[in-house]
């Protein structure tokens, strides 16, 4: 059991980390917001069909109405902003809050998140600016970090070319997420798609090698729109200019709401990613109107733990 002094030191570290995150965001001009504590059960599931309700913590008011206990922050914020944002209006927000879900053992897990949401801002320069903020943030905490950068547009383009039914599309996305080349080859067995198989294999086996991907596209005569995605990523890489940021085009999100660059970050020897984000314009359609939207969230408790060590 911790001594009181150890506990106080831990609390002090936590407070300092949170203050540093807040100062960082406010120095950049972001406004701190808070999301609602509860989400109405049916409405939340209707607006977030991709969420797994079994993982979310349910509470009931005295009238018997069911709610979820703060399951996520992004959708709550954009639900409030998107119906009212004017075209060409920009809203830049940040938050430091807890979200709740059940862990694998069935206990309620409260996880503190720091996040930034940029609404109404499009363009690869904006994407690069946000990734540079993340870089700056992680460097300020003096942690070893690596960020992997992918593109949901890339994977969606490739899957469009293949004549797969819904079940096999889902299976293929899962296989790409797992970097399971053996499974990918089983799922795309039609010889006419051999070029796309070689392209996916190249993105897994030879990370960060845009020139190689270009030559595979050319050699196999693949859809040239893929080159446009590569061009955007090259621009992004130039903006962020950091060898700790690697292009991984097998990085995808299983769900459809990301539509452009996506990224994940890792620090020190921590076993999981500490941050994740990307451009999610498509998600805003569900809340009223297609609006440029970009953001990320970071696990504050993990950052605190790594800073303490």
């Amino acid at each position: 059991m911790k001594t009181i002094q150890e506990e106080l030191r831990g609390i002090n570290t936590r407070n300092q980390v949170i203050k540093k995150l807040q100062n960082f965001a406010e120095d950049k001009g972001f406004l701190k917001v808070e999301s609602d504590a509860f989400e109405e059960y049916s409405r939340y599931l209707e607006q977030n069909p991709r969420q797994n309700p079994k993982k979310l913590v349910k509470v009931q008011d005295l009238r018997g109405n069911l709610f979820f206990l703060k399951p996520d922050i992004t959708t709550n914020l954009i639900k409030q902003v998107i119906p009212r944002i004017k075209s060409n209006e920009v809203v830049e927000l940040y938050y430091v809050e807890k979200v709740y879900q059940y862990d694998s053992g069935g206990s309620i897990d409260a996880s503190r998140q720091f996040g930034i949401e940029l609404l109404g801002k499009s363009g690869i320069e904006t994407d690069g600016e946000l990734i540079n903020y993340i870089k700056e943030l992680l460097m300020s905490f003096d942690v070893r970090y690596k960020i992997e950068l992918g593109s949901q547009a890339w994977v969606n383009l490739i899957i469009e070319q293949l004549n797969l039914d819904k079940q096999n599309k889902i299976a293929l996305k899962k296989a790409i997420i797992a970097k399971n080349i053996a499974k990918i080859q089983t799922l795309i067995s039609d010889k006419k798609y051999v070029g796309y198989v070689e392209l996916i294999k190249a993105t897994i086996r030879f990370q960060n090698n845009i020139n190689l991907y270009r030559s595979v596209i050319e050699n196999y005569g693949l859809n040239t729109k893929l080159n446009e995605v590569l061009k955007q990523l090259e621009i992004l890489k130039e903006i962020v200019n950091d060898e700790c940021i690697e292009i991984d085009l097998s990085l995808i999100n299983e769900f459809d709401y990301y539509n452009g660059p996506i990224f994940k970050g890792y620090i020190n020897d921590y076993k999981d990613s500490i941050l994740r984000g990307g451009r999610y314009d498509f998600l805003t359609k569900d809340f009223g109107r297609l609006t440029p939207a970009l953001g990320f969230s970071l696990d504050v408790d993990v950052l605190i733990m790594e800073v303490e060590q």
Partner: protein, 213 residues
């Protein structure tokens, strides 16, 4: 400087096959699989081997205790862990099958009773076939299920079929092939990518022969 890679090796028959593969790939064995030491180091290649229960390989890699590991694809399909499955090693090959006393068990109108170490796999299969099934999880000697009336059929791995035959069971249907996979923790992959890719590359040519066979 090369970063240390920790490898989860499943104890038992599979570890001998994996070690043989690693040796052929140029990692001279500085370790003794027969020793009771559960953690052994190969200082020259900066590798640490941990001998773990086969059913725990996924846990050690998911938790980041080990960077990479070797495990059967049957366990991966059942557990669906958030890991990378980087390479099919082409060893430990077998099949996932349905077996029973006879195949009439699958023609029932009512719910088929299934015994299996792989309840998720079993449920997913019967759901896909639009067949009703109730699944009982067993941890071993699954062949007993139909013999003692616990189940109509079993979903289990099939290698030579000798255990099935010895217990008067027959192979009813093959579901999919199983092989041994090299898995990686996602964070380890990103932070130690060069070292992990070097291992994959060294294993590469040796493994391709196994996969083709």
């Amino acid at each position: 400087m090369k970063q240390e890679i920790t490898i989860a090796l499943p104890k038992g028959r599979l570890s001998k096959q994996v070690l043989a593969l690693l040796q052929e790939a140029g990692y001279e064995n500085k370790i003794d699989p027969k020793s009771r030491l559960l953690i052994q180091k190969d200082e020259e290649n900066n590798l640490t081997y941990m001998f773990v229960k086969p059913s725990d390989v996924i846990t050690y890699v998911t938790e980041g205790i080990c960077d990479i590991g070797f495990v059967g694809s049957d366990s991966l399909i059942e557990a669906e862990p958030d890991l990378y499955q980087l390479m099919d090693l082409g060893i430990g090959k077998c099949k996932m099958v349905i077996a029973g006393l006879d195949d009439t068990a699958l023609n029932k109108n009512e719910s088929v009773r299934v015994a299996s170490k792989y309840p998720k796999i079993a449920r997913a299969y019967f759901k896909e076939q639009n067949m009703k099934a109730s699944v009982v999880k067993l941890n071993g000697s699954v062949e007993l299920g139909p013999l003692v009336g616990l189940s109509d059929v079993i979903v289990d791995i099939y290698e030579t079929g000798s255990t099935l035959r010895a217990n008067n069971l027959r192979l009813i249907r093959e579901l999919f092939d199983i092989s041994t996979m090299l898995i990686s923790n996602k964070s380890s992959y990103r932070m130690k990518r060069n070292e992990i890719e070097e291992i994959i590359s060294n294993l590469g040519s040796r493994v391709d022969e196994n996969v083709e066979n």
